[in-house]
């Protein structure tokens, strides 16, 4: 099915675009023949209508003759033949039209005769123009599809990613706790399982409420709290209005994980991580701020997490989302702002 036929609006736009083309056709034909404006209109209007439908047909041929994998002579030959057939189809209609019109204009057949060639040429030209346009559409569509595919692949990679460092260090903490404090060891097992289960489950969804994102980030922080003890201090401040905003899954957790990995873990005395979120002007604003050691090697430059969050925001919101990073005096701050959207429940 032709994509234009699937959408009423685009179909209207398409026919509307044919109005000036029809006028052009009329001017050429009336110039070549000996017809006045009304007679031209009577002939050209139905011809243009038919031609506009005929010019949708290259879509099928263009699909079976992709530009980059077909020999040029074949493309040219096939489309030329198709253009001739299409023009003939339109031209075949003309005698019938003229016959109908002889009732009002007895001499119309003779008057139109000299314009026949011009009309044939124009039909051929329009058809070929349409072929070119279809190839262009095809290229646009292909590149869009490629982009979607690559985004999906990237997302999959991210979802499958549980930081092995985090996992093994947590298991090591549990191993230590089994003799010191068995109850806490058990608690940490449960927290870690909660985290793994939830992040796996979230990976399957395309959109989740911000409140659930925060809950996951907190489960993560609970586990890290056991590992880092007093070194990890967390401050949180949220608007309750934030909870319902729909966001792409696993958006907050990577930011919090970065804050722990590159912030608190780089400081002997530890540091603070503060999470803030509020709703303003129809947008959800969220920030993660952490202390870090400015002398530590800057592993963040190529931070996979941040690049990925940025790409996913772009994929979901286009230019409507913002992600700003701000570094000063041993504080690293990531600020995120997205349009506030709620899920429409059926």
């Amino acid at each position: 099915m032709h994509p234009l036929l699937q959408n009423r609006n685009s179909l209207f736009a398409y026919f509307f675009a044919w109005v000036p083309l029809g006028v052009m056709l009329g001017v050429v034909v009336s110039g070549a023949g000996h017809l006045d404006a009304r007679a031209t209109l009577a002939v050209i209007a139905p011809v243009t209508l038919l031609l506009s439908f005929v010019c949708l047909s290259p879509w099928f041929l263009c699909r079976s003759l992709p530009l980059n994998s077909t020999a040029q002579w074949r493309i040219l030959a096939y489309h030329s033949i198709a253009a001739m057939l299409a023009s003939s189809l339109v031209l075949l209609m003309v005698p019938f039209l003229l016959q109908l019109l002889t009732r009002f204009r007895p001499k119309i057949e003779q008057q139109f005769e000299p314009a026949m060639r011009a009309l044939a040429g124009m039909c051929f030209l329009f058809y070929m123009l349409s072929v070119a346009l279809h190839y262009m559409l095809q290229a646009v569509e292909n590149s869009r599809q490629a982009e979607v595919l690559s985004r999906e692949a990237e997302l999959k990679a991210l979802k499958a990613q549980v930081n092995p460092h985090f996992l093994f260090n947590s298991l090591n903490s549990i191993s230590a706790l089994t003799t010191v404090d068995p109850a806490r060891a058990r608690e940490m097992c449960v927290r870690l399982s909660d985290f793994l289960r939830n992040s796996l489950r979230m990976g399957e969804r395309t959109s989740i409420p911000f409140g659930e994102e925060l809950a996951l980030a907190n489960t993560y922080l609970d586990v890290e709290q056991v590992r880092f003890g007093k070194r990890l201090r967390v401050v949180q401040d949220f608007d309750s209005a934030c909870q319902e905003c729909e966001v792409p899954p696993l958006l907050v957790q990577p930011l919090v994980e970065n804050a722990v990995k590159h912030g608190v873990a780089s400081l002997t005395e530890g540091g603070e991580i503060s999470l803030h979120a509020h709703v303003a002007d129809g947008r959800l604003c969220f920030s993660v701020e952490n202390h870090f050691d400015p002398d530590a090697p800057s592993q963040r430059k190529s931070g996979f997490g941040l690049v990925n969050v940025r790409n996913r925001l772009k994929a979901r919101y286009g230019n409507a989302a913002r992600l700003d990073v701000d570094v000063h005096d041993g504080t690293y701050r990531v600020q995120l702002s997205v349009p506030f959207t709620k899920e429409i429940r059926k």
Binding site: P164, H165, L167, F168, N169, L171, N172, S173, I174, S175, A176, L177, T179, V180, V226, R227, F228, G229, A265, S266, L267, T268, D293, D295, A296, P297, S298
Partner: protein
């Protein structure tokens, strides 16, 4: 004679496991515990341990940097959570390495290897710089140089280096008018630096490309690179070819 052991890990619980496992080893005595790289370097020079349990990822200095800064002959057992590249390096250089979490049996076998190593009349020494190079993931380069100056430790980001000159067994790092000495070979340094930024222009010189202002002819085959601060660095024929190639394909 008992083995004097030092534990270096920034996580209290991780240190606890080592303490617990070592409690049943009558021939091993824990002389200290450190929670960051600086403290570890200091403790090694003060306490002179025979054995070091070393975490790779620590605040201030990482495990490799610690080893670059100490010249004590000690047996090192790396203790790390996960590092797909570093394990190769450990295989070559460390007595053993333990991947967290590990059990008592695995720990025992590491200790057996330590005892064997320490029983040798001349325990083999590590080449820390080479070890570090081997642990760098492909495509990654050193971002900073750690240099020991008496009790002080300098951390020199590579972007601040103007040029490096080899002097016997030492390298002189020249940065903003100062120079720092470090025991390392010029080829191991060359290997760890980003080849698009640092060029070995001479048998004993590596230069930061961004500092070069112009190149002058000197003798028939040799040239001189004039740096932004006015320093003149000899450039050999091969060095000149390398420079030209890097400049042509930045």
């Amino acid at each position: 004679m008992s083995i004097r052991a030092l534990i270096a890990d920034d996580e209290e619980l991780a240190r606890h496991i080592l303490r617990e496992y070592l409690a049943n080893q009558p021939d091993i005595q824990i002389v200290g515990e450190c929670d960051n790289g600086f403290a570890t370097v200091k403790a090694i020079s003060e306490l002179k341990p025979d054995l070091l349990f070393l975490d790779v990822q620590m605040p201030k200095l990482d495990g490799f940097e610690v080893l670059e800064l100490v010249d004590a002959k000690l047996a090192v057992v790396f203790v790390t959570a996960y590092d797909q590249y570093a394990t190769k390096a450990f295989d070559a250089a460390a007595v053993d390495y333990l991947l967290k979490p590990f059990d008592l049996a695995r720990f025992q076998s590491a200790l057996d290897r330590v005892r064997q190593r320490l029983a040798l009349p001349q325990p083999p020494t590590l080449a820390p710089a080479e070890l570090r190079n081997a642990a760098l993931p492909p495509g990654r380069h050193t971002e900073r140089i750690v240099i020991r100056d008496g009790a002080k430790v300098h951390i020199l980001p590579v972007a601040q280096i103007d040029y490096v000159e080899a002097q016997d067994d030492y390298l002189a790092f020249h940065s903003t008018g100062k120079s720092y000495l470090k025991q390392q070979t010029i080829s191991s340094l060359e290997e760890s630096l980003d080849p698009s930024q640092f060029i070995r222009v001479h048998r004993s010189f590596i230069v930061n490309l961004e500092r070069i202002r112009k190149i002058e002819a000197y003798t028939k085959d040799a040239r001189l690179a004039i740096l932004a601060d006015g320093s003149k660095i000899p450039v050999s024929r091969a060095g000149y070819l390398k420079l030209k190639e890097v400049m042509a394909h930045p």
